[in-house]
């Protein structure tokens, strides 16, 4: 779960990390009020869950409350990469002497958390040469000891006995504490800025592990899903929208879903989306999942099931339920069905006159043909 910048900064502040003075607002008058409270120049930042909002005009400066109000009016209601802006963060405008980069995430290859730091932060961090990027893997059983933080600061090229150096050592340790205690997949500060003798988190990017949300009830909840994604999630399934428009895909498992998409594209088809119903989804949920796909008006629905935990009779039953409830399918349905309880499933499909394929490639080819009007 991605957190808005202002939420991440609230979290930082809870743990004692220095952040700019400021507050989240949702209307221009509030923006003016916060600007008045802060005094002096402020920055008004759109709160969206994607990057590059600055380039899209989603960050503006103002020297007084009136200016803040005007800027807020301008930004609220903007659309950035398709996302409407409903929330703003109004903050003191920092004096920025230097921009650093700092993050902690999990490195799957190393099977360990990794601290990434650079003395050259800001928007161009991804383009910095390797030698300016410090990567330090953290032994999970050892944790973030002070000596590691000190050594990273040394590697960044900062002296340890200056106010800046000491603050960064502290920030690294606190950032790791947040990372662990809040089950984060990512905590990122870019830029972390030198502002006179202070070191301040000028931005925040925090992603909480969805799988750990059950024990992170204290955190605010951010809904990132579209209506369709949410409907699928409520069934315990995952839905992904794709660029194409022709073929809706349902398959059971991430790998086989990818393999199905690859096969469809191999035959020249364009998948519109896919729904992964792996892990033994029952008859009712599978039916609802099919309704979701039909509701999206593809040219054809391709169901590709290799039954393991998933039972073929459940899937076939769901297909039959939808067929009977609707008195037929709104668009053609192609199904490949093998594995656990295969015969029982086939029998159910026969009752409604649907024939199942034995092989993925045959089903996929048929679906592509239909989508191209070649069937």
């Amino acid at each position: 779960m991605k957190m808005f910048e202002y939420m991440g900064k609230e979290l930082f502040a809870q743990f004692g990390l220095p952040v700019p003075k400021g507050r989240m607002v949702t209307d221009p008058d509030e923006a003016a009020k916060v600007a008045a409270e802060i005094g002096g120049s402020v920055v008004i930042k759109s709160q969206v869950l994607i990057g590059k909002r600055g380039k899209a005009g989603g960050i503006k400066f103002a020297d007084n409350p009136e200016g803040a109000k005007a800027a807020a009016e301008e930004i609220l209601g903007m659309t950035i990469q398709g996302l409407p802006v409903n929330i703003l963060l109004v903050e003191e405008k920092l004096k920025i002497d230097k921009e650093l980069y700092m993050s902690i995430t999990v490195d799957g290859a190393a099977k360990a958390p990794v601290l990434i730091a650079s003395a050259y932060g800001g928007m161009d961090i991804e383009e910095q040469p390797e030698e300016y990027i410090i990567k330090r893997h953290i032994d999970p059983e050892l944790g973030m000891q002070a000596f590691i933080a000190r050594d990273v600061v040394r590697k960044m090229g900062f002296p340890l006995n200056t106010p800046h150096g000491k603050q960064i050592v502290k920030i690294i340790q606190v950032l790791y504490k947040i990372f662990i205690e809040k089950d984060a997949e990512l905590v990122e500060i870019n830029p972390l800025v030198f502002s006179d003798d202070k070191v301040i988190a000028a931005d925040s990017k925090v992603t909480i592990d969805d799988d750990a949300m059950f024990r992170r009830k204290e955190l605010p909840y951010v809904e990132e899903r579209s209506a369709t994604e949410k409907a699928a999630k409520d069934l315990g399934l995952s839905y992904v929208d794709l660029d194409g428009e022709d073929i809706a895909v349902m398959a059971n498992g991430a790998g086989i879903t990818m393999g199905t998409l690859d096969t469809i594209e191999h035959f020249g088809g364009t998948p519109a989306n896919f729904l992964d119903c792996g892990g033994g989804t029952g008859r009712e949920a599978t039916g609802k999942a099919l309704e979701i796909l039909f509701g999206l008006n593809p040219k054809v629905v391709f169901v590709n099931i290799f039954g393991g935990i998933t039972r073929c009779d459940d899937v076939a039953g769901a297909v039959a339920d939808v067929y009977k409830a609707r008195g037929g399918f709104p668009v053609p349905l192609v199904i490949r069905l093998v594995g656990t309880n295969q015969e029982a499933g086939r029998a159910i499909l026969e009752e409604i006159g649907v024939e199942a394929y034995d092989f993925m490639e045959d089903g996929a080819k048929r679906a592509v043909d239909i989508s191209k009007g070649q069937a």
Partner: protein
């Protein structure tokens, strides 16, 4: 032979009294797996499908030799259960559970390393030494003994490919599910090394995915292998996954693409199938059948 588990492996089932535990215990027994004990705290003294249930892994170990454990445990309790087996000295721990928090996964893998144990998963279908021992959830009928080693991350695609191997007369030595999550116990290279040493295995099928750099790293080792490797990489047409801020980009630095993986594997001498159903023919080819 086969790798990791075989017909002599004494298996423990943790969470044996749950729905999944009971169902898959039955399936595993039907496959021939030597399940000697189960554990569910508070349910000690019960019997599931003829298997005695204990209150703790230590109690099970006091009554049986335990070589390997498979977990059917809800995600919030998976770390504790995996730690329990590892602490008791169990050498192979198979974590089927999906949705385990990533920090828990990291902790499990770190502790396993310290204890010198093998962890498969989390989020793995398990492992089958075909004809000898199955731990996990794959459907029994597609796994027939033979000479092809299979190593993969995701389940159903593996059944798909293994099923087509079997349909084409190509049995398997061992089919290893490393797990589909971001942090899992083994990497391709670990399993390839084992297959290389296993006398039963004559060729290896590697089922990879876009993202990460495990396939690229494995390619370095494939160069040294004497046994042929056939690969399929899923996700050629998949959309880019969610990015982990700048950090993800910095770690990957352009690695992890379909193209990069295929190139690395090909250069290392592996044959890469463009589609899943092409795998059996290529395996036959490399085996000279």
């Amino acid at each position: 032979m086969a790798i990791i588990i075989d017909e002599n492996t004494n298996v423990l089932v943790q969470g044996i009294t749950g729905n999944q535990g009971v169902f898959h215990t039955k399936q595993m027994l039907a496959y021939g797996t030597k399940i000697v004990a189960g554990v569910t705290p508070g349910k000690g003294g019960n019997v599931v499908e003829g298997v005695p249930v204990y209150n703790s892994v230590r109690e099970a170990c006091e009554n049986h030799r335990i070589d390997a454990s498979v977990l059917f445990i809800p995600a919030p309790f998976t770390k504790d259960a995996a730690f329990e087996s590892l602490e008791a000295g169990v050498g192979v721990v198979v974590v089927v559970t999906e949705g385990v928090p990533v920090h828990d996964e990291t902790a499990i893998v770190a502790y396993a390393k310290r204890k010198g144990a093998i962890v498969l998963g989390p989020n793995t279908f398990g492992i089958v030494s075909s004809g000898k021992c199955k731990m996990g959830i794959p459907p029994n009928q597609y796994f027939v003994e033979g000479n092809v080693g299979v190593v993969a991350r995701s389940g159903t695609l593996t059944y798909e490919i293994t099923g087509s191997l079997t349909a084409n007369g190509l049995g398997q030595s061992t089919v290893v599910g490393m797990g589909g999550d971001r942090v899992v116990g083994l990497t391709f290279i670990d399993v390839l090394r084992m297959f290389e040493k296993d006398p039963q295995t004559e060729a290896v099928v590697l089922i990879g995915e876009i993202g990460g750099n495990a396939e690229e790293t494995a390619s370095e080792y494939i160069k040294e292998m004497t046994k042929p490797v056939v690969a399929f990489i899923a996700g050629k047409s998949a959309p880019p996954g969610k990015r982990m801020g700048h950090a993800g980009a910095i770690i990957e630095r352009g690695k992890g693409t379909y193209k990069g993986k295929v190139e690395a594997l090909t250069e290392a001498g592996a044959k890469v199938a463009a589609l899943p159903f092409e795998v059996p023919a290529i395996v036959k080819e490399v085996l000279g059948k």
